[in-house]
């Protein structure tokens, strides 16, 4: 198995702050890996080191076998970077943005022009191709940014929070484009704050917090780490929430009251907990509208995981 990314003990300090504090990571070629974490977790620093934009203070990072410090030029030949803030040039047209990248990559002028046109069409930008990119909508800018990244048919694509600030439609569209690219064989490292995004796109996910990897695995693995299912009990009147929780406590169950959505929520870990919970509800004689069990969302898993390191 070829590794697209191989990281060992990576450390990057900014003054006294350790943005990366000994990160290990291995991404097989052809995978989409979600790099998850809250703001300031070190995701962007990680991408910048892997994109040869920052030198690590300790540890090693290799991209398709090339060391990011020793052989940055070879690394750059493998990768494409789509930044957190769309890094297209707003003062020139979308077409010129793509033409520039093609020329920089050594494509002859005539072919560079036709490749730029082809890319504009693929990313539904043909009509706006001649307009300065600063006049594009947020979604169009991200599409142009992604198109620019794909000009050299990179083996490895870094997507640093690609959908932050996008409306749901543009987001789905961008996801579809990323998936298409991955199907064509590219490896993708996606950083995101949203579990949903990782779940929609990634084969596996790594959760980072405070510069360390705190969990890794598939979406299902991560969910399992914080209990499989959640029970939600909805009383007819919000005033009964406390009575319900009290009744559950008598059964030795720790229900959490959520005033906002008017439910008592209970993670189900032991097999008999559901039966005990139902018994507690019956005993409380509270009028109940609904009792639901559902699979814990990845977002809940995410919050649970990052809380434990706080």
């Amino acid at each position: 198995m070829t590794l697209a990314i191989e990281v060992e003990g990576l450390v990057k300090r900014f003054g006294a702050h350790r943005a990366l504090d000994g990160v290990d990571l291995a991404v097989p070629a052809g995978q989409i890996l979600g790099l998850l974490g809250p703001n300031g977790a070190g995701k962007t620093t990680m991408v910048r080191v892997l994109a040869t934009l920052l030198r690590p203070d300790a540890g090693r990072a290799r991209v398709f076998g090339y060391d990011v410090v020793e052989e940055p030029h070879q690394v750059r030949r493998c990768i494409a970077l789509t930044g957190q803030f769309a890094s297209v040039d707003g003062n020139i047209s979308g077409r010129e943005n793509l033409y520039l990248i093609a020329r920089l990559l050594g494509v002859p002028a005539r072919r560079a022009r036709s490749e730029a046109t082809g890319m504009l069409e693929r990313f539904r930008l043909a009509e706006a191709g001649g307009k300065p990119a600063r006049e594009y909508s947020g979604g169009m800018r991200r599409r142009l940014d992604l198109a620019a990244s794909l000009m050299g048919e990179p083996r490895l694509i870094y997507l640093d929070e690609p959908t932050t600030g996008l409306d749901p439609h543009s987001r789905n569209e961008l996801w579809a484009m990323v998936k298409e690219r991955a199907l064509a064989g590219a490896t993708v490292l996606l950083t995101t704050q949203y579990m949903e995004e990782a779940e929609a796109l990634a084969d596996s996910a790594v959760v980072v917090d405070k510069g360390r990897v705190i969990a890794a695995g598939t979406a299902a693995d991560l969910r399992a780490r914080v209990g499989g299912r959640t029970l939600e009990i909805r009383p007819a009147h919000p005033r009964d929430l406390a009575a319900l929780a009290g009744s559950l406590a008598l059964e030795g169950l720790d229900g959490r009251i959520d005033q906002e959505t008017c439910v008592v929520r209970l993670p189900l870990v032991e097999p008999d907990e559901l039966t005990r919970a139902v018994r507690a509800v019956t005993a409380s004689a509270v009028e109940v509208l609904a009792v639901d069990t559902r699979v814990a969302s990845l977002d809940e898993a995410f919050i649970e995981l990052t809380r434990s390191t706080a």
């Binding site: 040869t52 070879q74 750059r76 930044g83 957190q84 040039d89 520039l100 920089l104 990559l105 000009m151």
Partner: protein
């Protein structure tokens, strides 16, 4: 995308982007592609031209018609012949500031991240910037010369010396552009780059023969003014266009410009590499 020898460890995947090693031809091609982009940017943002061409024209009119009489008094000759070469130098100095500003903007908005993650020569980004800025400076000089002719300035020498005047100012402007590049690569905020670029040039501009004769300045200032490269390039430009001794100021300008670049070029390059 270029068919190059591919030394990648993986088999059965498309070749790596770019060349395995950037040869001189690659560097030239990359620099020109970036220079083209920088020139196109000028078209996309004509405000840049306003700063570098329209402002000096307004300045000329103010100095010529408002201050001119008071400055020139009853000296022999025409203040117009004295002032306009000075304004050409001023145009150049103002325009040279945008080298650093535009580099800072590229870093600020993420364009530089993309460029620096591409398999291109590190030097191409700076070279592309300077090449585009030299074209912009030359364009500004030609426009100002035409404007000068339009409002009654006369070239009293010949075409060859006039061209030499343009090239000499371009040399000085290029040296200042490198200083500006160093400032732009050292300071992160584009707005601060603008202010610093403006401030450091104030003594260089006004402590010179650019707008007024140095003969009325107090002694200590005259010492500064006469060693000031701006005085030298202005005098050279003046004498190349309107007649007078050439050798001294031309030599002085060349020495100053080359000297400035000996410091500014390596400093700017090392700043760029470190960011």
């Amino acid at each position: 995308m270029t068919p190059t020898t591919d030394s990648a460890p993986t088999v059965g995947v498309p070749p790596l982007a770019g060349s395995a090693r950037n040869g001189p031809r690659d560097v030239v091609r990359q620099s020109l592609a970036l220079a083209r982009r920088n020139m196109l940017q000028l078209r996309g943002d004509p405000g840049q031209l306003l700063d570098s061409v329209v402002m000096p024209m307004v300045f000329t009119l103010i100095f010529l018609y408002v201050f001119g009489g008071a400055i020139w008094g009853d000296r022999p000759g025409d203040y117009r012949q004295f002032l306009l070469p000075g304004i050409m130098v001023q145009t150049l100095m103002f325009a040279s500031r945008s080298t650093g500003y535009l580099l800072a903007v590229d870093f600020d908005n993420g364009v530089m991240d993309r460029l620096r993650s591409l398999p291109i020569a590190r030097s191409a980004v700076l070279t592309g910037r300077i090449v585009a800025d030299m074209s912009r400076l030359l364009l500004g000089q030609v426009v100002m010369l035409l404007f000068a002719l339009a409002i009654g300035f006369r070239v009293e020498t010949n075409v060859l010396l006039a061209v030499a005047a343009l090239l000499l100012t371009l040399l000085y402007g290029t040296a200042l552009a490198w200083v500006s590049a160093f400032i732009g690569l050292t300071i992160r905020s584009p707005n601060t780059v603008q202010s610093v670029g403006f401030l450091w040039m104030i003594p260089l501009q006004f402590g010179s023969s650019m707008l007024v004769p140095t003969s009325t300045m107090p002694g200590w200032l005259r010492v500064f003014a006469e060693a000031n490269p701006t005085t030298l390039v202005t005098d050279a430009c003046r004498n190349l266009l309107a007649g007078g001794p050439i050798a001294g100021p031309v030599l002085g300008t060349v020495l100053w410009s080359v000297g400035l670049m000996c410091f500014a070029v390596p400093l700017a390059i090392s700043r760029y590499r470190r960011r």
